[in-house]
């Protein structure tokens, strides 16, 4: 088991956002957590990355308890996040943004070949490599955030709400890239999404999160045909 969350409780001061969620991700899987706005998806992902403290419960990564580790230590262990809203570094160029992802890995990385791999996935970043990140469109910033996470060859990629605010055609493209990375490059991905249809389509398994509680879990295909899920999230 690559990642295991056990009975996670996460609170912002007195307000508990996640009430004891348990889930796991196996090596090589693409798992998604779907749920409505405010269900606690982003909170869970931030807690996995160490950006939000956990009140109770444990996070284990490759068998190690990482519940109390700071983000940069987790990043060093091969976990990367594509954060909500991309959060690229606005005053750095596109190339500099990508390079920050290689921090501490430059010596063990064949930088030119990794960059050309990234540019093959996202050609627009190649065109704009010398531009400041703040001049990119929302969709391009999302791609840059993915590139910044991917350039390090992570073992586990956490993707937060990547479809939010993107044009439908771009959503399709980004999900296609995620699918490709999972199937062809063996990248393990944990996806949280409001766009249940698109994420279930590419996932192996999924969890349904409702106001801080996991209410359903199973194979993505099974969930897709589940009447409750269809009614609540797929608009059918």
């Amino acid at each position: 088991m690559l990642l295991e969350a056990e009975n996670l409780r996460i609170a912002y001061r007195d307000i508990e956002a996640v009430h004891g969620a348990s889930f796991h991700v196996e090596e090589g899987e693409l798992v998604s957590i779907i749920g409505a706005n405010g269900a606690g998806k982003t909170t869970i992902l931030n807690a996995l990355m160490g950006m939000t403290p956990v009140k109770e419960g444990a996070v284990r990564y490759r068998g190690l308890d990482i519940t109390g580790l700071p983000s940069h230590k987790r990043a060093g262990m091969g976990i990367r996040i594509v954060p909500e809203g991309a959060r690229v570094f606005p005053q750095l160029t596109v190339l500099e943004n990508i390079m920050t992802g290689l921090y501490r890995l430059r010596k063990v990385t064949d930088v030119p070949s990794r960059l050309s791999w990234i540019y093959e996935l996202f050609p627009v970043l190649d065109e704009r490599s010398r531009q400041l990140a703040q001049t990119l469109s929302g969709g391009e910033q999302q791609q840059l955030a993915i590139a910044r996470a991917l350039v390090s060859k992570p073992r586990l990629l956490l993707v937060d709400e990547v479809s939010m605010g993107l044009m439908p055609i771009l959503v399709e493209k980004v999900f296609e890239v995620l699918r490709y990375l999972n199937r062809e490059e063996d990248l393990t991905i944990l996806l949280v999404e409001q766009n249940a249809l698109a994420s279930l389509a590419i996932s192996n398994r999924a969890y349904v999160l409702e106001t801080g509680v996991i209410t359903l879990e199973g194979e993505a295909q099974t969930l897709k045909s589940d009447p409750g899920v269809r009614k609540a999230y797929l608009g059918a």
Binding site: M51, A75, G76
Partner: protein
């Protein structure tokens, strides 16, 4: 050149070095500091004490000054790990006042009388007076700029930029905020120490008020006016803000008022500084470069 002009040149160089250090903290690592004069003072007092009590020459004490100032900078940079933005500004003001009071009230540091009789700098047996001193200060300024340039181009610099832009994002890609904030504080304050050492050996008499809060404000003004996070910005700022008070000497009573007006005008019309994004000097430089090419 008259000694007056040379003296102004020396102060431009000293302020330039100190402002370069502040630029690393504020411009590159994005940690606001309104207490930089404290480290300028720590450098000056270390050099003065080593010279008067232990008989150290400038050259012998310089490495020690750098180490001691950098180490204290590291220690006093610790608050930046807990507080940020406005709160960090207030904390650093506090540090400035505490350091100034220590110099003022602890007898070891000469109290209100300060420290006098600091030796001149000897260069192969020759006493450095105005022209020679300017050459030395200028050389150290160039070295500081080299240091800054290297810092900005290195991975440490890139990590600091990332931290300045978005701390949470930076730490999620493996950049330790603790490590790089402290590194920036240490480098920046060590450079202030070099400036302080030059100041002590040039003035040959120092007292606590030379390193008060107004000096910190002036240093920060230099960085802001020139352009935060640019290589040459602090030097341009030091040049302007060291020369202007001399030009406006008849208005000396209104100096602080002029600073305030200047800062407000900068914030309104040149938020990135003269050399920063959309800065007047940056545009000018770009235009000249374009003309040279065609």
């Amino acid at each position: 050149m008259s000694n007056y002009v040379l003296t102004i040149g020396i102060f431009v160089a000293i302020n330039g070095i100190v402002a370069c250090g502040l630029n690393i903290i504020v411009g590159y690592a994005g940690q606001i500091s309104l207490g930089h004069a404290a480290f300028f003072g720590i450098g000056a007092y270390t050099a003065a004490l080593l010279a008067t009590r232990a008989g150290f020459s400038f050259w012998l004490s310089l490495p020690l000054v750098i180490i001691i100032t950098g180490a204290i900078g590291l220690l006093l940079g610790l608050p930046s790990l807990r507080v940020r933005a406005d709160f960090l500004a207030i904390t650093t003001i506090g540090i400035n006042f505490i350091v100034e009071s220590v110099f003022m009230y602890v007898p070891f540091f000469g109290g209100a009388l300060g420290i006098g009789g600091i030796s001149r700098i000897l260069f192969f047996g020759i006493r450095l007076r105005e022209a020679g001193f300017l050459a030395l200060a200028g050389t150290l300024l160039v070295l500081s700029l080299g240091c800054t340039w290297w810092f900005a181009r290195s991975w440490t610099g890139l990590a600091c930029f990332a931290l300045r832009e978005d701390e949470i994002s930076a730490s999620s890609i493996g950049i330790s905020p603790v490590l790089f904030k402290l590194l920036a504080f240490m480098t920046g304050t060590a450079m202030a120490g070099v400036g302080g050492s030059l100041y002590a050996h040039y003035m040959r008499f120092i007292s606590a008020t030379d390193f008060g809060f107004p000096v910190s404000v002036m240093m920060l003004s230099m960085v802001v006016v020139g352009g935060m996070g640019t290589l040459w910005g602090p030097v341009i700022g030091a040049l302007l803000l060291t020369i202007l008070p001399e030009v406006f000497r008849p208005l000396t009573d209104y100096r602080m008022l002029l600073y305030a007006v200047l800062l407000l005008l900068m914030i309104r019309f040149q938020p990135g500084g003269l050399l920063g994004e959309r800065g007047v000097l940056k545009n000018l430089a770009g235009r000249i470069r374009g003309r040279l090419r065609s």
